[in-house]
Amino acid sequence: MDPASPEPHLSPRTAESPSLDVALRPNIVLAALLTLIGLVLTPQLGFGLVYDDGWTLVTNGFLRVPAELGALFSPEAITRNIPDAFRPGLVLFDVLSYQLLGLDPRWHHAVSIALHLGVCAALAAWLRRLGAPLILWAATVTLFGLLAIHAEAIAVVSFREDLLAALLGLLACTVASAAVRSRRTWPLAPLAALLSLGACAMKQSAAALPLLWLLAEALAPWQTRRPWPRLLGLAGTLLLGAAALMAFTVWLYGDLSPYGAANPRLFVTRTGLAPVLAMSTQIHLSYLQQIVLPFGLSPEYVDAGARWDEPATLLASAALLSLLLYGLTRAHARPLACLAIVGAFILALPTSNLAPMPNMRADRFMYLPSLPICLGLAALALAAGRHLATTLARPALLLAPLAALAILQGAVLAGTAFNYRSNGQLWAVARALAPGSARAQASTGELLIASQDTTTDKARRAAVLARAEAHCIHAERLDPHYELPQLCFARLAAARQDWREARRRFAAALTHSPDRNARILAGLAQTSLDLPGHSEDQRRQLALAALERGLHEYPYSPELHDVAGQIFHRLGDPSQALEHYRRALTLAPERGEPLLAQLALLLDLGLPVAAKHLLAAHPQTWLAADPIDRTALIARQRDALQLFAPTMILSADLVGVFPNEP
């Protein structure tokens, strides 16, 4: 059957396939549905960069040096702490998108929306290739596109790893399904393997997709099953892509898991596997509830263990097991139900906590597993509609249950997405929904402290810092072995200019933190230089030791290079300071601090004309920097011109470069 055919009646097994005489063209239906989904997601274009975007995009200097991309495919990726090095495809995509779009959040959100629409289109293409009738694939795409639990994966730019993995994985499935139906299978097989490899290079959890493909083709709910040798051969080809990525991970990390067995971020290292798996059963039943009835969605969940003899664990295990048994035993009579249930179990396996993960639970983990669930939900909604239409003799009611479900999901999706519009909103919601989260409390404290950096109102500043301190204390009580509460205290102490306490807290954060230590080491180096009770030589040695370790372990951190520049500037080593300021500016051209510091250094060296040329080369960075600091520098540069280059006053004045300067 032509996969684009709108006639569902030609399907040999229509027992579970809703039938409807449809006079609509499939491509028009798909375009209209994608337009609806796109419209619902449009408000996200106004959102900022939040959550992990800071670590993977904003301060990720590796994205700014494409000439060093080779390091990503060597052990250097680990020694240089390249963020997300175990997802090389994602890093490549991030490099490309940064080089094309810069850091403009609107463009990055547009990419995420386009990727989600691409996933919906790829899902439609695969279902059509499998022979699903128009009404069923269109209903599945509608539900998947509007599913509320997808808010996090779509609204947070750095979580596009899930969207990319799903897009490439579904394209691999579509190509494999085309190959299995084609007389000339093998020209398409390498393409399918390549797409599967690409999907796993975006996120390892896509490695389960080949099993879903095999299940769908073996069950063949809408067409006769293809020969087993062909199916197994193509499934093996798809798994080759996944195996290649896993081999790369093992080669890079010496283990299938990139997190390391003794990583304190993994809850399993604190409690053991049994309590984690017991809680995981409860988590997965909650996921199912959140997918079917979208309430209880949250940007933050608190990791916790459970006992196997708890009633909640027993009930959740029984419910999930019953569902799985139903799916397995009904494979012949109800292949669609089997595909939806067993398929969801297969896709949920990689994030089911069997393999240790830093977060036990997150809404975004359900992006892929929700795919077969949406197929099952769509079939159920259409069956309910058919029953309604027949019982009440109103054919128009056929789509009523589906429309109600889609409207509910779409409304919650659009509403929930607003939780991710800014870090201030995100952590406020996270604190409200997960008050026991040390991360939410500590992040709130840090946000409050950062907001007071330039405040001159002393009373207000003291009040806000006291509020921040309460969050730091709460965070430390919730998790005394976590680095974020210590960082919260360190920033608080630095804001109060208590350098001894700040350094002690930065050092404590470092002992608790297994990775992502660039900003801790930068803080440690910076506070060492002002440490009371130490000789100048001791302070210098402490600062340089922290700096040396930081720059060695995190050579792509713009913050560390900026701090290195400041420290060498203060220690009277202008050539080293200039080198680090330049590197900081290369690694994060959007940051105003290294540009302003470099300008100040040039003025200190009596080079006001060089300062003007530097500024003219980075107009956007200059204009984005703090206006008060800019005004001070303009005044300093005029003084320097009068002193060192009086004949250049007219041509080298900064006001000549930017006429609208304050």
């Binding site: 609806l36 919601v429 409200a432 907001s451 950096d453």
Partner: protein, 40 residues
């Protein structure tokens, strides 16, 4: 059929837009903008 289909989608879009307003979380965001030095 086309007209009915597009009308259904339009209605769905309007109902989603209305429903989303009821689903927005009303928790007040953390105030991270400092207006001490601004004109207001």
């Amino acid at each position: 059929m086309n007209r009915k289909f597009f009308t259904l989608l339009l209605l769905a879009a309007m109902m989603i837009a209305a429903g989303s307003m009821a689903c927005v979380n009303t928790v007040t965001a953390i105030e991270i903008t400092d207006e001490t030095d601004s004109a207001t």
